[in-house]
């Protein structure tokens, strides 16, 4: 592999580690590559990446991997133990638990995706606005953030989910309402450190509006730390979503949501252990994967390590 335009043949590795990047995109890729190399040295983080990739593959190719529908009932084959035919056994309606676990990955990813696209914009918007304008505006927004930060998350999510009615969308909303404050805090702190820099001043003297400065100069610089934080929080979000599902406030039957599956397997726990325990292992593995990756990312971006 070589890049034709260079005088000497250069490998991708060298190109990505260039001391003096030739273009903006090369500079960006260089930074990503350096971080990836640092991450790659951490075996735990790599296993986290593998788990998350596996989750995504599972969700994308669910219909091929599962082999059967997660909803197909067969009442003559209720509560069958794990066997060659049903790797993880069957549940109280004779549905194949393996297929339900595989399809459940879609719900987990959906929740992660929805929470991210609600929490990131809200957190970043409030944080950058507060940090950029400062003064009374900042005080007002930060007070609100503090108030939400002081709330017990699960109980709040519970109350919201109860008020809005059960369902995935409402569970996502409930989680998001309680999850945005740390991002606002983080984005504000980042904004405060860069708003006085010369390049921002230069942009302002060229006549750029405040919104333009925030959108095209401050937000891109806030994103990395916010995303690292999101990865770290993801495990917690998955656990709260599963907890809401377990309590019956998240996904509704017959959806193959893992928390819900643990809950419905509870009645058969003593005699048919696999119905409740296997979905719980799935929840654990995925949230463990995000924790491993988040932990590794924190080491890369913040070596002091909190």
């Amino acid at each position: 592999m070589s890049v034709e335009t260079s005088p000497k043949p250069v490998t991708w590795h060298d190109w990505l580690l260039a001391e003096a990047p030739q273009s903006r995109s090369q500079a960006r890729l260089t930074r990503w590559y350096a971080n990836w190399l640092a991450l790659k040295r951490n075996p735990l983080a790599v296993s986290g990446v593998i788990i998350i990739l596996a989750l995504i593959l599972m969700a994308v190719f669910a219909s091929w991997i599962a082999g059967q529908s997660p909803y197909a009932q067969l009442l003559t084959a209720r509560l069958e133990p794990p066997s060659m035919e049903h790797w993880f056994g069957t549940d109280e309606l004779g549905r194949d638990i393996f297929a339900r676990i595989i399809y459940g990955s879609r719900i987990t990813l959906l929740i992660i995706f929805l929470v991210s696209i609600v929490v990131l914009p809200v957190g970043i918007l409030i944080g950058t606005l507060a940090g950029y304008f400062g003064g009374v505006f900042d005080m007002f927004l930060m007070r609100i953030t503090d108030i939400f930060l002081a709330f017990p998350r699960l109980v709040m999510a519970l109350a919201f989910a109860a008020a809005l009615g059960p369902g995935i969308e409402n569970a996502v909303l409930a989680i998001s309402i309680t999850a945005w404050p740390p991002y606002a805090r983080l984005a504000r702190a980042e904004t405060m450190t860069i708003r006085r820099s010369d390049f921002i001043l230069a942009t302002r003297m060229q006549g750029a509006s405040a919104l333009r400065i925030i959108w095209s100069h401050i937000v891109p610089l806030c994103l990395p730390s916010v995303i690292v934080r999101l990865t770290l929080d993801m495990a917690g979000i998955i656990l709260i979503a599963a907890g809401l599902g377990f309590l019956g406030l998240g996904a509704q039957p017959p959806a193959p949501e893992w928390g819900l599956m643990v809950s419905s397997g509870r009645s058969y726990l003593l005699d048919q252990w696999w119905v409740a325990t296997i979905p719980g292992i799935a929840i654990f593995v995925v949230s463990f994967g995000f924790n491993l990756l988040g932990d590794g990312l924190r080491d890369v971006f913040d070596p002091k390590g909190l």
Binding site: I147, V155, L158, G243, G280, F288
Partner: protein, 353 residues
């Protein structure tokens, strides 16, 4: 605060007390604001529920004029800010409304169930601190070697554990298969209602009445849920202890102490650890709050008659007064813990002043 009048620094010391009160006042003001925010949120939740509170009172076959009258009696025709004001005034008088399920004031219900949760969370935090702090210290002193990795992994596993699932598996293994611990609930059936409730916490009440049988039975029931909750808080406490300790161990006074000839053990446990106590208090207070939350799911699994089970039970019966009352109580405990840890911070650490 002790004052030593003879020393020349006496003036400086005397002025510390008012400063503390100013700090306290500022703290209280910010907490009052947080409390107001909390009530706004619970008020809003109470207003957006799809259940019509008037219908809940009059039933769905009431005549329109009866409906209107009840609506006015409940104050639902007033402007929102006035409704909020009435809500707040009632709250401050300790009136959280009546629980539909028990037909008793919500506050009374909450006072009855809260001790059970407090007992569970307290035993859990003791477990978390007793194991978590030493683990964090060991991890920090062996940074980068296998004890560190092992403790880190233990912590990450704890962070990733769905608590309701761990509870079920715990019951399956330790109660059903091994029979080492008591089952769901706070006591075996034949021990119930023997001990007169004084504090509402069975471990204390049974000791007060000198009934050791009940005490040991209560211990066998609390150990599994408290152990599981304790493990979750241990993960957080150990990680924070580790990072605080690392911050201290790289400082020069540690080197000085070692050069003076103090043993490594003494330097670590008597010098460095003492210096991280302050931030550690905050961490412990925070995880105590998280435990109250974790208790919601744990109590459901273990049929533990506490706050969490009360809230979830009320949830399914659309008993919003009880749900919001419970949410408020957990929120207030959160705020209170923040206040306590702030005060502790201020009192213990001279740099915070």
């Amino acid at each position: 605060m002790t004052t030593t009048p003879a020393l020349p620094t006496a003036g400086a010391r005397r002025s510390r007390l008012p400063a503390f009160f100013v700090h306290l006042l500022r703290l209280l003001a910010s907490l009052a604001l947080t409390f107001l925010g909390l009530t706004v949120v619970t008020f809003c939740i109470g207003r957006v529920i799809p259940i019509d509170p008037v219908l809940a009172v009059v039933g769905d076959r009431a005549l329109p004029d009866v409906y209107e009258r009840v609506r006015m009696e409940l104050g639902l025709d007033l402007p929102l800010y006035q409704q909020y004001w009435n809500y707040l005034v009632k709250l401050l008088h300790g009136d959280l409304g009546t629980a539909v399920l028990t037909a008793r004031p919500v506050l009374e219900d909450l006072m009855r169930v809260f001790p059970a949760t407090l007992e569970l969370a307290t035993v859990a935090i003791v477990i978390g601190v007793v194991f978590g702090v030493p683990m964090g210290v060991v991890a920090a002193t062996s940074q980068g070697r296998w004890p560190d990795h092992l403790i880190r992994l233990t912590g990450l596993v704890g962070y990733s554990m769905p608590v309701f699932w761990l509870g079920l598996v715990g019951l399956l293994v330790f109660y059903n298969a091994l029979d080492w611990v008591g089952g769901p609930g706070r006591l075996d059936v034949y021990y119930e209602d023997i001990v007169a409730p004084v504090t509402g916490m069975l471990l204390i009440d049974s000791l007060l009445s000198g009934d050791t049988d009940v005490f040991w039975n209560a211990v066998s029931h609390i150990i599994l849920p408290a152990g599981i909750l304790g493990y979750l808080s241990l993960a957080y406490i150990a990680r924070m202890t580790r990072s605080f300790m690392l911050g201290q161990l790289h400082q020069e006074y540690i080197l000085t102490a070692q050069i003076k000839g103090l043993s490594r053990t003494r330097v670590v446990w008597r010098h460095a650890l003492v210096n991280i106590l302050v931030p550690l208090i905050t961490v412990i207070a925070l995880s105590y709050g998280y435990l109250l939350e974790g208790a919601v799911l744990t109590e459901t699994v273990f049929a533990w008659p506490g706050l969490g089970r009360y809230i979830t039970f009320a949830l399914f019966n659309a008993d919003m007064n009880a749900v919001l009352g419970g949410t408020l109580v957990v929120g207030i405990v959160f705020i209170g813990l923040n206040l306590l840890s702030d005060i502790a911070y201020y009192l213990v650490d001279p740099r915070a002043r």
